[in-house]
């Protein structure tokens, strides 16, 4: 009994203490409780890892109590740990700890300190629940919970209208995905009779392909909502309204990966539904390209990284879609390293520039914030797939599998990789090279923020060959050989280096070139810069009709008109009848007498009907 429940319970305890008492505690105590709860949780994960033996052969499974029992359908509160779960646990708790430490420095001057850490701990609790769950329902509990925490944290600066709107958007768009997930769960329960992973996944191969395809597509809808794929990605760029540690933890490393994790966990269902797999791959690839093009044009540093996240998530889905599940998970892990680092670094940059986020007002930070500079350089190399960095290994695994599946996917993916390198290094050069274009005096960040940056930089550099995920997950997903692997790798590296070189040329050597290109592209540039007007289209076709319809039809017509009308109308009619009846009490004796006579006649008739009209009398 490994007492797996301790892992989520510690952050939950932190949430309770900070949430209830945080207002009266000192900032130091709040930070200590919040950070300690996550670090201790990470420690327990390590302890489980080292004492559990071979998780591939003997996965841990703990059953706490039966949650739902209805006839033969049972759902228990079960946690299970196998190698896939262990990887996720390490990522969530490890990177979570680093970000918590970072946040103590970043949020040091912000109001609502205790509330922030309470929400962050709550998020950790739900995310760990999601990862540890041994059945779909418990996973869904975690799924919904992280959505809630995302909403709370995006809208953390709740006095800003844009922040609350973004929080709403995130939650509502997630909800659309959750609807798909719920439908999938219903279908699973109906067809498999159970929601727990071992029963469902073992029985999956035997079910008809149509059923599995439907279930898989519905699960994909849920994953698209949570992991920001087309068409439900629109919430992620707006989610940058939240504080930067939130963007790093939730929208880079953990929550958005939940969709990929869920699809990987449901691999048996997907592999037996080829149409669904193809859909996953196409959506992933399309999202990757789409988001990368937008990322090329943005000036807000966090927006660049947000679109980058959407794009990289597309890569992960591509990996899952072509059957390279472990490659997708590998990229999930390395992406967690370098994307968290990019965001935290961006936070450090923003902190250095006193809250400025527009890269056109940055520059030359190399000499003001050197540590931030080299750590971000490592991250940028990793995301560009520079040889031997972590990103290099995982991205090539995916691209190799894509080539085996369908060569055109490889070529599109490689071009996207080039774009990725380009926009990341564009951001880097604009931020750190040249002259400082902003106000005031930029300064380096405190050690509490730099420490995690350095740790993540090391992980981004070596994490790829240190943790060879496909090898780890060998027993679940057999490793496939890729033909011509060396050639494919060299092609993708070439594209990556080309992207770096092009960005250097355009933003360091020839500074006027970007402006010339954008003006010559005219309407194309405007289209891409405005994110293809997707938000506007959604607003016009879905949001506005819904809001107007709700207001006009549901509120005014149905609620005010029908329901209020009925209720008030009943009251009004009752009063009306009462007023009418009141006239009987006229005080006029004669009218009273008249009513008496009328009543008497009525009674006579009634009595005759009751006793029957017999003819003839007595005698």
């Amino acid at each position: 009994m490994q007492n797996l429940w301790i892992i989520p319970a510690l952050p939950f305890l932190g949430f309770l203490i900070n949430g209830i008492f945080g207002r009266t505690l000192s900032k130091a105590l709040v930070s200590a409780i919040a950070v300690a709860s996550v670090v201790l949780s990470f420690g327990w994960v390590l302890k489980v890892f080292f004492t559990a033996g071979d998780l591939g052969a003997n996965p841990i499974s703990e059953h706490y109590f039966t949650w739902i029992r209805s006839g033969v359908f049972e759902v228990g509160w079960d946690f299970a740990v196998d190698k896939l779960t262990m990887i996720m646990l390490m990522i969530v708790t490890g990177i979570g700890s680093l970000i918590h430490i970072y946040a103590t420095g970043y949020m040091a001057h912000e109001g609502g300190y205790y509330r922030f850490f309470a929400y962050l701990n709550l998020f950790m609790f739900f995310m760990l629940m999601l990862v540890l769950a041994a059945n779909y329902l418990l996973l869904f509990v975690g799924w919904e919970g992280v959505g809630l925490c995302s909403y709370l944290l995006i809208g953390f600066y709740f006095l800003k209208k844009s922040a609350t709107t973004a929080g709403n958007k995130a939650f509502i768009v997630n909800r659309v995905g959750d609807f798909g997930f719920s439908l999938a769960m219903f279908l699973i329960a109906v067809n498999f009779g159970s929601l727990s992973f071992d029963k469902v996944l073992q029985a999956a191969p035997g079910k008809p392909a149509g059923t599995l395809t439907t279930i898989a597509l519905l699960l994909l809808v849920g994953a698209c909502g949570k992991s920001a794929q087309i068409p439900l990605y629109v919430w992620l760029p707006d989610a940058m309204e939240g504080p930067t540690p939130v963007s790093a933890l939730i929208h880079a490393a953990t929550m958005v990966t939940a969709g990929v994790y869920m699809c990987t966990r449901s691999a048996p269902i997907f592999t037996h539904a080829p149409i669904a797999m193809e859909t996953v791959a196409v959506i992933g690839l399309a999202t990757a390209v789409f988001a990368a093009t937008i990322g090329l044009t943005q000036y807000d540093i966090k927006k660049v990284f947000a679109y980058s996240t959407v794009s990289q998530l597309g890569y992960m889905f591509l990996g899952v879609g072509v059957g390279a599940f472990s490659a997708g998970i590998w990229h999930l892990m390395t992406h967690a390293f370098f994307k968290a680092l990019l965001f935290l670094g961006a936070g450090s940059v923003i902190h250095a520039c006193h809250g400025e986020q527009d890269m056109r007002h940055m520059g030359g930070l190399k000499k003001y914030a050197p540590h931030t500079c080299w750590t971000l350089a490592v991250a940028s190399l990793a995301i560009s797939g520079f040889p031997l960095t972590s990103g290099f290994f995982s991205k090539d695994a995916i691209l190799g599998a894509a080539y085996t599946h369908a060569p055109w996917m490889f070529w599109v993916g490689v071009v996207t990789a080039g774009m990725t390198a380009f926009y990341v290094w564009r951001a880097f050069w604009m931020t750190f090279w040249g002259e400082y274009k902003g106000h005031g005096h930029p300064h380096e960040s405190p050690m509490s923020m730099l420490g995690p940056l350095m740790v993540l930089a090391v992980l981004s550099a070596v994490g790829g060959w240190l943790f060879n995920v496909p090898k780890i997950l060998e027993n679940m997903f057999p490793v496939q050989e890729v033909e011509g692997e060396m050639t494919l790798t060299m092609i993708s590296v070439a594209f990556g280096l080309g992207g770096i070189a092009l960005s250097y040329y355009m933003y360091v050597v020839n500074r006027e070139l970007p402006a010339k290109i954008t003006s010559s592209l005219g309407w194309l540039y405007t289209l891409v810069y405005n994110k293809y007007f997707v938000d506007e289209v959604y607003d016009a076709t879905i949001v506005s009709p819904t809001v107007t319809g709700s207001r006009v039809f549901l509120w005014q017509a149905a609620d005010q008109g029908v329901i209020d009308g009925l209720v008030n109308g009943v009251g009004r009619e009752a009063r009306g009848i009462g007023g009418w009846l009141r006239r009987l009490q006229s005080g006029n004796i004669r009218s009273y007498a008249t009513w008496v006579v009328v009543g008497a006649v009525g009674l006579l008739i009634l009595m005759s009907l009751a006793y029957g009209m017999q003819g003839g009398g007595a005698r």
Binding site: R590, T594, V597, V601, Q614, R619
Partner: protein, 166 residues
């Protein structure tokens, strides 16, 4: 013979009754009511109710109606003015009355249409002796109670009608 008397005095009673409700001055109504009571007393006699007939004349016509006339004189009640009417009484009253009469007449006809005939002298049990016997044996309690009732009525009438001592 019986039928002749019945028709005569029934007609008198009905005519006087109509006169009660149609006269303008209360005195005329009161006198018509006395006429009704008189003819009913004769009908009582025809039905063999001697005691009741006498009681009707003495108590009803002789005491109650005199009281009415005293009060009319006391109040100096004049002829009635033709002022606003109660529309409810008009609208509902006439149909209700007709309906009531119709229903009652129908029931009388169907229940008692063949109930028997009345001949003068076929019922001898209405004498003072038989009424007295029944009153003081079978119906003693109500009899005693009515004496209390009369006492209460006297007290009530005195209290209500006296002059206030100021």
């Amino acid at each position: 013979m019986d039928i002749f008397f019945f028709i005569l005095f029934a007609t008198i009673a009905v005519v006087c009754g109509i006169s009660v409700i149609l006269q303008k001055h209360p005195i005329s109504s009161a006198l018509s009511l006395v006429g009704v009571m008189g003819s009913i007393a004769v009908l009582y006699l025809a039905l063999g109710a001697e005691f009741i007939a006498m009681a009707q004349i003495i108590v009803y016509a002789g005491a109650v109606m005199v009281l009415f006339i005293f009060v009319i004189m006391l109040l100096n009640a004049g002829a009635e003015q033709a002022a606003g009417r109660s529309w409810m009484a008009q609208l509902l009253g006439i149909p209700a009355l007709l309906a009531m009469f119709g229903v009652v007449a129908y029931f009388i006809q169907s229940y008692f249409g063949n109930a028997g005939f009345m001949k003068f002298g076929n019922f001898k049990g209405g004498s003072a002796q038989s009424v007295g016997m029944a009153l003081f044996t079978d119906y003693l309690l109500p009899f005693e109670v009515t004496s209390v009732l009369i006492l209460v009525a006297i007290l009530g009438a005195i209290v209500l009608a006296r002059k206030e001592l100021d």
